[in-house]
Symmetry: C2
Subunit: 120 residues, 2 copies
Amino acid sequence: MRISEASAKSGLSADTIRYYEKSGIVPPIARGPDGLRRFSPENLEWLTLLYWLRKTGMPMKEMQRFASFYRQGEATVPQRRDLLLKHEQRLQERRADLARCEEVLSYKLAAYDRIEGNRS
Amino acid sequence: MRISEASAKSGLSADTIRYYEKSGIVPPIARGPDGLRRFSPENLEWLTLLYWLRKTGMPMKEMQRFASFYRQGEATVPQRRDLLLKHEQRLQERRADLARCEEVLSYKLAAYDRIEGNRS
DNA sequence: GCCTTGACCTGGAGTGACTCCAGGCCGGTA
DNA sequence: TACCGGCCTGGAGTCACTCCAGGTCAAGGC
């Protein structure tokens, strides 16, 4: 498939995909006889994983390490697992942030309700 | 209180606080006779709110609108409430992202377990 | 056969939200 | 008096994109 389809299916913009390829997070994508990128299903799976990792706050440096482990083959599975476990940790922290923010918001909204209540 | 204390209590770095003041998200902070910023308790409450809004993904443009409503006084409470409600929406979306990512991760981790299981 | 359209290419500039730093001032301590 | 720590300002640097100019190529319409 070409870049527009890979973009639609992975969630990453075409620009971001090219940028990721340049930075080595995505392996060099095969080209057709026309010089355009042709994405394999494995490429797409990789992009989709990156999309979710990035969207939930994994920094690029870490994705680069992850990608380099990936390129080194199955022997690096333990290291890759560690990175993903670390990311799960991060998800926990984010969840806690969301909960804390929710509290702050409902406190603020309640204060607004009181003001509105007094005015009307 | 001075900037280091405001930073420690709000969660924002001193640099970020100064940056926010420059961009008008934080009102001009009063200065002592030495020319240093002196933060009032209200200043601190505002900073803390900004910290949580920003940390959970409110863009600066929106915080600017929020700040400008705030400067216009109580008449803008409904608009401010709308912005906060919109942000609550965003929190929901983030939560969904986290959940989806969690799924992707556990799928990947399970695949790693299978590989490791076969190897040993 | 030619022209237009649209998807893609590259290299490079621009953006958002910080973050860091150089160079300077000031009040307190040894 | 010399130094130190905390603060100041203006400006440069960073990260992770995002946008754009200028160009190629294949397919469809006239």
